[in-house]
Symmetry: C2
Subunit: 297 residues, 2 copies
Amino acid sequence: MEMHQIRYFLAVSRTLNFTRAAEDCHVAQPSLTRAIKLLEAELGGDLFRRERNLTHLTEFGKRMLPLLGQCYESAVAAKRLATSIRSGSLVSLTLALSHTVSMTLLIPALTELLRLFPQLELRFLRGTAVEIAEHLKKGDAALAVAGPLGESWERFDAWPLFSEAMEIVVGEASGPASDEPVSLRDLARSRLLYRPYCEMAGLIDEHLLEGQVSWTDRYEVVSEQDLLHLVRSGLGVGVLPKSTASGNTEGLRWLQVDGFEIHRTVSLYGVSGRERSAPAAALLKLLRARDWSADVS
Amino acid sequence: MEMHQIRYFLAVSRTLNFTRAAEDCHVAQPSLTRAIKLLEAELGGDLFRRERNLTHLTEFGKRMLPLLGQCYESAVAAKRLATSIRSGSLVSLTLALSHTVSMTLLIPALTELLRLFPQLELRFLRGTAVEIAEHLKKGDAALAVAGPLGESWERFDAWPLFSEAMEIVVGEASGPASDEPVSLRDLARSRLLYRPYCEMAGLIDEHLLEGQVSWTDRYEVVSEQDLLHLVRSGLGVGVLPKSTASGNTEGLRWLQVDGFEIHRTVSLYGVSGRERSAPAAALLKLLRARDWSADVS
DNA sequence: CCAATTCGATAGTGATCCGCTATAGTGACA
DNA sequence: TGTCACTATAGCGGATCACTATCGAATTGG
């Protein structure tokens, strides 16, 4: 079953006249006749009753009409969509974000991006470092923003955006009473709210073990928001990048802890050798040009 | 955009590997590569990022996938349906009926037909003589049952089924009191319920004019059922084929009217030179073999 | 009743395009 | 570094599609 056969079939269905259908299709009438005959042979039944003046669809042809019409319409729709995309009236950009990167960090750049590309369809993927690396590799996302991906694939382009401290946060009404620096050991009796999705999770664990701290109690959470709610309720202690709760610090207290100092670098990632769409290139430029100092202080 | 290109595109979308996709499609890999390239050229953008190990759909390819998938699915569905029809598991028959032919006349034959073809999809078209002739000509219906079609097209096959009288019917409580024959003139003051859709309407009109009868009042109705309801309510006089109300005579009275005698012949119609489907041939045989005497007495 | 017209089928030819084999080029991987 | 895996390219039949020319039959009009 070939596309031109379907096109010819639909033309004859409309005109009920082989000659005129051939004109409509801009082919010679014998070509159309033969195409229809081949289609009939393939389907195993006559599609038309040829009666000069009264040519019409057979019962069989009537059954075939909707399906073949749909087939053709889909092809036409695909071509239309392709044209629409090519003309730039339909552009999209998929961005992979670490669970540890707050959307608020990106809002200014995204706002500017949408000013440049009003029609842009933005799509976000959230994931762990491994998932983000996968998204980039498979081309699910054109760019990604995350902490260190761990994975060393030489085709990853990484543009560092900013560095920030991982800080320890407790609820305003809980934890050590003083504002003086406390020791890790003092803190070890609290419940640790563990973020397994964090790029720094392994490093934090090592750090705590080096400090001879064994946290007796540990909750696993699956999002920064959940963690913040738990911390505010005094149900545990969290280790968070500074930027996560910036501008949303009510009910929280940042602790100075002796012997705990970890920084992470948030980078923008891409895959070298892949041409970037215009919006992707623009977002890259916007993010790299941005001054992040306000977000990490 | 050719069908094989779409098939190849879908295969590569599944396997994400040109070589394996070519195997799946039972073509050589270069043929598939070229087909995809042509498709990309036609659509105006790359569908895949060729990265040996990591070949994947581009954003553009992802957009195209659903539509092209639908296109291919429709074609496959059409072929499946064709096979299904050819194997006889899906047969249909369209029958055109005059408004003046009661379905009850056909029930015995249809019952038998459905015993022979349990899977048969029956479809009915109702219409006037002109409409029925059109249905037959255009192939909308394979067979028709009606009174005289009026149209003389030499390609109409007509098999007379039965003849019957056109009778005059009034409500039980209305009309002339006696059971004696009345004259047309006596009746002329009643309201005539006129059936414009009847094949005999013209002839009936002539007949009444010949009898020098002018009906002062005339209602037009659009169905036998509506007419019977009106007649039962005493709102008029109807002229009906005997078979119409057979088995449904409550509230009705048949009048003997001097000088009024019209018969009509109900025939089965087909179009010569068109091959009939098995169910059509069977129904033809059943209807012609039937004894109609009980229906017209 | 015959000529003109219309409509679909057939024949024959040329060109396009598909599918094939062979092979090159290039990352990935051990 | 050598081998493998994967895609692209080149070149060659062969299938088939589109074309022109023409026929046969049926309808239409004078």
